[in-house]
């Protein structure tokens, strides 16, 4: 049973179909106001919140429910912007409610109230889609700030953006120095990537934390992605730069997906919704083979498959790199620093770059040997205006790729892996 605010002082209250203003009076419902649903079996808590949430800076329409089941009924008949729910309730728990809300009302945000905070609980709630936590007892001002913060997130563009990969989104967050989290869902798998001023600082995925969780998320093939803000970073587990993480993820994807790429690419539709969303899609089979490689790997695979026959000269192969947006120079250099071939923008002395790069390449390799790190696969130097990547080709040469700071590093990395053998063959090195 649902009741209006002033009439639900007893047990069995359901929701307030009106606004309680700063004077504590119930006013008529207003479509322009944001709607909040408070879910808690503790009547005193609900009453207190109902009386105190609204003030001069925050005016919302408040609904209430004493259980998860009642909350779902309210949600079914009202467009609720934000659910504020306790965790421990008879019947459906707050976590179960959260899951239902995210499944049935994906645009509704959720704040969890709990008197029993723990990292494990927070992790589970985050994986189920909760935006924020607040620990009981809390200051009402703190709650108002949290609600205002959450409701501001409603004032964002919603829609669908095609052709965007997860690594693109991560790089966008990096460039925009975002402090936010990405919640990624693929089938039964859930992952969250935390950003702090553009840097990836934490990730959780299934039973994993840190970089391993990040790399597992990056291996998701399609899925749903929600971008949201957070107020409390649980722990910092990742310190590596975004670019290095993406490169390493690409390398792992490439290693893990080589067979898939070879057997046919998947075209992953990528949608952006409520922040960002990826949609899983059926694979597109090329050449009669099945495949399930990642979107990034597959784009490379498809392009290169189409062009492979055409690439008869070093210039053709090098153009594979300079065709990547943001890559302006690609040089093939002997390990002794003598230039073998290049495509470069005007103003770059590629002979000199080759000579200098050979010292950098050699130094990176020497350091790897000194540290017992094995064979070098890539060295990247980051400058203010973008990175320079060095990668061995065959035994006697290496590639120098000069990129702008917004270039897709994962794509470059994959193309290097894809074409290194062919370059070595074409250059007879």
């Amino acid at each position: 049973m649902c009741q209006a605010a002033g009439a639900n002082a007893g047990a069995g209250f359901c929701h307030l179909a009106g606004l309680i203003n700063t004077a504590g009076r119930v006013v008529a419902g207003n479509d322009a106001l944001k709607k909040i649903l408070i879910v808690d079996d503790e009547e005193d808590m609900v009453w207190s919140l109902r009386q105190n949430i609204n003030n001069e800076r925050l005016q919302v329409e408040i609904f209430t429910a004493a259980s998860g089941e009642e909350a779902l009924k309210v949600l079914s008949s009202n467009h609720i912007d934000l659910v504020l729910t306790d965790i421990r309730m008879p019947g459906m728990s707050g976590l179960d409610l959260l899951l239902e809300v995210k499944n049935r009302f994906p645009y509704t945000m959720v704040i969890i109230m709990t008197a029993f905070p723990s990292n494990e609980f927070k992790k589970e709630a985050l994986l189920r889609g909760s935006l924020h936590f607040i620990e009981k007892p809390f200051d009402i001002k703190e709650l108002r700030d949290l609600i205002r913060h959450a409701l501001r997130e409603e004032n964002v563009f919603k829609g669908t953006v095609a052709g965007v990969g997860l690594s693109d989104v991560i790089q966008i967050n990096g460039l925009s120095r975002a402090t936010s989290l990405l919640r990624v869902k693929q089938g039964e798998h859930l992952g969250i990537i935390y950003f702090q001023e553009g840097q990836v600082v934490h990730a959780i995925c299934d039973e994993l934390d840190g970089e391993e969780a990040f790399f597992r998320i990056m291996q998701f093939k399609g899925g749903r992605l929600d971008s949201m803000s957070y107020t409390d970073l649980p722990i910092r587990t990742i310190n590596a730069p975004v670019e290095a993480l993406i490169i390493e993820a690409a390398r792992r994807m490439d290693e893990a997906g080589l067979d898939d790429v070879a057997s046919g690419p998947v075209c992953a539709d990528v949608d952006l919704e409520d922040g960002v969303e990826y949609k899983e899609s059926a694979p597109v089979h090329v050449g009669g083979n099945n495949g399930s490689g990642s979107a990034m790997v597959d784009r490379v695979g498809t392009e290169s498959a189409e062009r492979e026959d055409e690439m008869s000269s070093l210039k053709d192969v090098l153009s594979e790199f300079t065709n990547i947006p943001g890559v302006n120079t690609a040089c093939l250099v002997g390990r002794d620093g003598f230039l073998l071939d290049s495509i470069a923008i005007a103003g770059i002395d590629t002979e000199m770059i080759g000579a200098i790069a050979s010292s950098g390449f050699g130094a990176s390799e020497s350091m790897g040997k000194q540290l017992g790190k094995g064979a070098m696969s890539m060295s990247m130097i980051e400058y203010g205006n973008g990175p320079v990547m060095l990668s061995p080709v065959g035994d006697d040469a290496f590639l120098v790729i000069v990129a702008d700071k917004d270039a897709n590093l994962g794509m470059i990395r994959l193309k290097i892996k894809k074409h290194a053998g062919q370059i070595a063959e074409t250059a007879a090195i």
Binding site: G334, R335, D336, A355, S358, S359, G362, A363, E365
Partner: protein
Amino acid sequence: MSEGKILDIAHISFLDMIKVMIAMSGAASAKGTLIRNAISTAEKIKEVDYPTFEEFLAAIENSTNPITQVEGKSSHQGGFVFGLTHCPFGPSIKNYTGVFEKLPDGYADFTEEFNKPSKVTEIYRVGEGAGVSPFCSVHQPMRSAIAEKIRIGGKKIKIYQLGCKAGSGKKGFADRWLAETGISREVVDKTLDNHMCCYYLQIVE
């Protein structure tokens, strides 16, 4: 350091610098750096045109030939094959090994690197087995680069490095350049019996 031996600091600095370059950035990069430096030095040489081959030889004899000014006197063995009696790096090597007994670590790798086929050794027709020490990677390209500044009767000349001999007496032969010039290995072997370096001069028609 052995007692009573005199160390030329210029020698040790140069030889140990090569060792540091090898350790810091690898033999290939070190080789490239030395070769580029050698070529850069050669580019400072003023161009000269000898009216005849005989006048070119005379310039060697009176030490006005640019090649001779860098490496010392060589002697014409006939058929445009030349032998250089003394290695220009001989004194440095002798001084270093006289004090420290052996050359720095990494020199063998460096020499092997120089002998590998590469763009620069192809351009200057050096290496390919003719390198017997890291110093060959400086000396041989420099001589070839200097030769680009010399004309005989208005015609360009090219130098092919055919072989070289280490201080230990071990000889190295550039089979590729032997094949291209048509000079027999026996001729080079015989030249190296009493010379440290052997090369072929081609007058480009």
